[in-house]
């Protein structure tokens, strides 16, 4: 695999597996047929496969022979006040046991309460009460899954008046208290910083480097009054600059480009990933 080497820059000794893409259906055939060498690893959306029929699991097993496969979820709802969904966790564990991913992640968010699911990554109020609640749930989830999880900073379109802790401090304390890892979405940092007027670099600085196991990059849409994390376009220049800053300050971290809507031709995706590789390499050379 191009660019594969082991890094011990995170405290968990997870390997740096290089530069990856999301495994998305428009490109299944291309990936299966050509086994592209420029992609070091793939990230799957866990929920797309947890209840899928055997053909899909066979497909994953086939790709797993050539690529590390990381699992990324959108349905754990770690911030919800509902009980943990044990059926969900059982199926997630079954998939993880089957796929043996280098790691497994979800988001610092909630998706619904009272048994409903909005299928959105809803913002958590950053308070001492929510921190205690979420830390306990992370510990339980890690016990059930028998593995550590990473949680990703979401894009936030509002902040609650009760939030007395900054998002970056919340992430730092949460990861410390629950002993979980972090998936640092650089685009989400940019989006949330724009939407709420804080300094994106200050945010990055406050995130404990030794807990960052993976980075996400993605495109977004700026509506003037706010930015929405759309995953439907190229990574924007300001986000590339923030990624450069992140690599310079955090060290080299396994990086993945997300592109989930208006998914472009395969070559366009590969070029976007090569750009990430190039940015990271240039930072390392300059260091």
């Amino acid at each position: 695999m191009a660019g594969f080497f082991v890094s011990m820059e995170n405290r968990f000794a997870y390997p740096d597996i290089g530069f990856g893409l999301g495994l998305r259906s428009p490109h299944y055939d291309t990936i299966l047929e050509h086994r592209p060498k420029k992609i070091d690893w793939f990230e799957i959306i866990s929920e797309n496969f947890m209840e899928a029929h055997k053909g899909y699991w066979d497909f994953l097993a086939d790709l797993r022979r050539d690529y590390p496969m990381v699992m990324h979820g959108v349905g754990m709802s770690i911030g919800s006040t509902d009980c943990l969904n044990l059926d969900y966790l059982k199926k997630l564990k079954a998939l993880a046991d089957f796929l043996q991913p280098p790691w497994l992640s979800d988001h610092l968010c909630w998706t619904g309460v009272h048994g409903k699911n909005t299928h959105d990554l809803l913002p958590v109020p950053y308070t001492e009460e929510s921190l205690r609640h979420i830390v306990e749930r992370i510990k339980k989830v890690q016990d059930i899954l028998g593995r550590r999880i990473l949680l990703e900073n979401p894009s936030i379109y509002l902040e609650f008046t009760v939030s007395g802790i900054t998002e970056w401090d919340f992430l730092a304390r949460m990861s410390e208290d629950a002993d979980c890892g972090l998936l640092l979405d650089v685009n989400n940092v940019y989006v949330s910083a724009f939407n709420h007027g804080y300094d994106a670099k200050k945010y990055i600085d406050a995130i404990p480097s030794d807990r960052v196991v993976q980075i996400h990059l993605a495109g977004h849409k700026n509506y003037g009054t706010h930015i929405i994390d759309t995953h439907d376009a190229h990574v924007l220049d300001d986000v590339w600059k923030l990624y450069e800053y992140t690599i310079a300050t955090k060290g080299k971290v396994s990086t993945m480009v997300e592109w989930d809507d208006n998914i472009p031709a395969w070559d366009v995706l590969v070029a976007e990933l090569e750009k990430a590789r190039s940015v990271a390499q240039n930072v390392r050379k300059a260091a």
């Binding site: 029929h53 009272h114 299928h119 009460e129």
Partner: protein, 249 residues
């Protein structure tokens, strides 16, 4: 209730009802957007995301009805059925029944039933086909008392319109006219990763539908109005059904 669950309840209610105001009082002011506008981003995103999920399972119905009429139905469905499961792919499956109950358009209802069945079957579990030898050497009495289990990833459909032909034409890029009412019967199943549609005669549909309800074979075949057709075709039907794995172990 402490502050944290109450806050989540308020915000969740705002998303489901579309009323931003009660939740907005708990949202920080922002120089560019008022609190209720910030809440509205989530309210709108919820409906957009679910509508897109429904659209992706019913593309031909969308083409038939047009954006506005389709989205009106989809939003009514979302209003009446907030998602409960974590699998977004499954959320649109009951939309077909909702269309049938609310669209007042029999052709659209049939098309929704077919696209819904295709989407549902695409996700269902594999099943080990029944070995034909299981039926070999059975006495007529033993065969008659047998119950057969349908392949998991399959559906039988009885339709008022020939929507299968219409769907094929639409998928080929045509804009077919709505056909005349003419009953049609279909078996929809997935083989590997492809969903297949097999036209059935009315008699074959009735037999299969009864077998899939796991009635004993003798009861499933006891359809007086189709007695002669069944007698004449039964062997050929079973040969095809077994070859295509209509029944599971």
């Amino acid at each position: 209730m402490s502050a944290f669950p109450k806050l989540l309840d308020e915000f969740h209610t705002a998303i489901l009802t579309g009323d931003a105001k009660p939740a907005a009082k708990s949202v920080k002011k922002n120089p560019r957007l008022a609190p209720d506008q910030q809440v509205a981003i989530y309210i709108d995103g919820y409906r957009l995301r679910l509508t897109q999920a429904i659209r992706s399972d019913y593309p031909a119905l969308l083409a038939l009805l047009g954006d506005e009429a389709f989205d009106r139905l989809a939003l009514a469905y979302i209003e009446a059925n907030p998602p409960e499961g974590y699998n977004l792919d499954r959320y649109p499956h009951p939309f077909a029944a909702f269309v049938c109950a609310h669209a007042n358009d029999a052709f659209a209802s049939d098309l929704a039933a077919l696209e819904g069945a295709i989407a549902e079957v695409f996700m269902m579990a594999e099943s080990e086909p029944l070995d034909p030898s299981a039926l070999g050497g059975l006495s007529p009495e033993a065969f008659g008392s047998l119950t057969l289990k349908p392949r998991h990833a399959s559906r039988v459909l009885a339709l008022d319109y020939p929507v299968d032909d219409w769907l094929s034409a639409q998928r080929a890029g045509n804009v077919p006219a709505r056909p005349e009412k003419n009953p049609a019967f279909l078996y929809v199943y997935r083989h590997q990763n492809n969903v297949q549609r097999v036209p059935l005669s009315e008699a074959a549909y009735m037999v299969l539908e009864r077998l899939f309800r796991e009635l004993p074979v003798s009861e499933a075949l006891d359809i007086p109005e189709h007695e002669n057709t069944i007698a004449a075709n039964l062997q050929a039907w079973f040969a095809e059904w077994m070859a295509k794995g209509f029944f599971r172990q």
